[in-house]
Point group: C2
Chain length 149, copies 2
DNA sequence: CTGCAAATGAAATTAATTTTCAATAAGTGA
DNA sequence: TCACTTATTGAAAATTAATTTCATTTGCAG
C-alpha cells in the first residue's frame, strides 16, 4: 500500500465513505496505470485481480473519486462528444461560461514557448495542445448580481 | 447562407462529400449556437426545423465534420469519461503521449497572467482552466526510429 | 459483538451509439 | 434535361455504454 494510496484512503474515510476491497482494487489499478483509462478498460483490468467485481461498482467508484477530486479527466483521444463549430480556422483556445455554456474563441495562442520548454524537459515531441478556460460571462455575472447574490 | 457556412460547404464538396438538406440543417444549428452541443441536444434542435431527420444522420454528420476539422470538441462540463489518478494534489496540466497513452503531470502552471488578460478583455470571471499537451514520448520516438520511419 | 447504513452485484432497464439494408437523392456528364 | 452512379438517408435492429432496482453483504462505530 503506497503512501499515495494511503492518503486517498484516509481522504475517503474522512468524507464518510467506506473502504471496501473493491474500492481498493480499483484504486490499485488506477494508481498503477501511467496512462488514462475508460470505465470499460478499468473494469477489465480490475476483474483480473478481483474477478467478482461488478461493472456498476467501477462506475460508482469512478464517480465517487471524480467527485472527491481524486482522479482527473483527460480529453485528447477524441472520445468526448461535446461539439461546437470551428469558428476560427487557425488554431485557437476556448473560453466557456459555466453559467450559460456560451463559448468564446481565443485566437492568440502563446503556448509555443511553453511547449518548447516542456519538450526540452521531458523529451516529448509535442504535436498539439488544448486549452480551455472556464468562468462566468459578464451576462451571467450581472444576472447573479440582479438576484442579490 | 452565411459566409462561414458557404466556406464549410465548399470544403465538404472539395473533399467529395455531398451537400444534403440534412447536412445543411445540422450545420445551420451548429453555426447558430454560441455554445456547445451534445449529439442528443443537436438532434432535438435539428428536428425542430427538419422533422424527418434521423438520429444516425446527426451522429454521422458530427463524425464527418469532426474528421474534417470543421467542428471543435470542448470538455469542461464533466461528461468525458477518460480518467487517471490525480497524482499532484495541486493544480497541474497533463502531457499525453499519442503513441502509448502515457500521461505526465506538469505541475508548474503559469496561466494566471493569461487568465487575467483574457478576463480583462472579455469581462469573464475565470474560475479555472484546463491544459493538455499531446505528443510522442521519447520511448515512442525511439521505437519509431528503430522501425526505420 | 451488534446494529446500522453504506456498498455490492446480478439482473433489468435505460441511454447512447452503430450497423444493416432498402430506398432516396446529389451531382456529374452527355 | 436526363440517365446513371454512388453517396447518403433513416427505420429498424443491433450493439455498446451507463444507470437503476432491490435483495444481500459488509465496513465500521459504539
Amino acid at each position: 500500500m503506497e503512501v499515495k494510496d494511503k492518503h486517498i484512503v484516509s481522504m475517503m474515510r474522512h468524507q464518510g465513505h467506506k473502504i471496501t476491497p473493491q474500492r481498493r482494487a480499483i484504486l490499485n489499478v488506477i494508481a498503477r496505470s501511467d496512462g488514462h483509462l475508460t470505465p470499460a478498460a478499468l473494469y477489465q483490468r480490475v476483474k483480473q485481480r478481483y474477478p467478482r467485481i461488478g461493472l456498476v461498482t467501477v462506475y460508482r467508484t469512478l464517480d465517487l473519486l471524480a467527485g472527491l477530486g481524486l482522479i482527473c479527466r483527460v480529453h485528447t483521444d477524441g472520445g468526448c462528444r461535446n461539439y461546437l463549430l470551428r469558428r476560427p480556422e487557425e488554431h485557437h483556445h476556448h473560453l466557456i461560461c459555466s453559467g450559460c455554456a456560451k463559448v468564446v474563441d481565443l485566437a492568440d495562442c502563446n503556448m509555443a514557448a511553453e511547449a518548447a520548454r516542456i519538450s526540452g524537459k521531458t523529451g516529448f515531441e509535442i504535436e498539439r495542445h488544448l486549452v480551455e478556460f472556464i468562468g462566468r460571462c459578464s451576462h451571467c455575472r450581472q444576472m447573479a448580481l440582479a438576484k442579490g447574490f
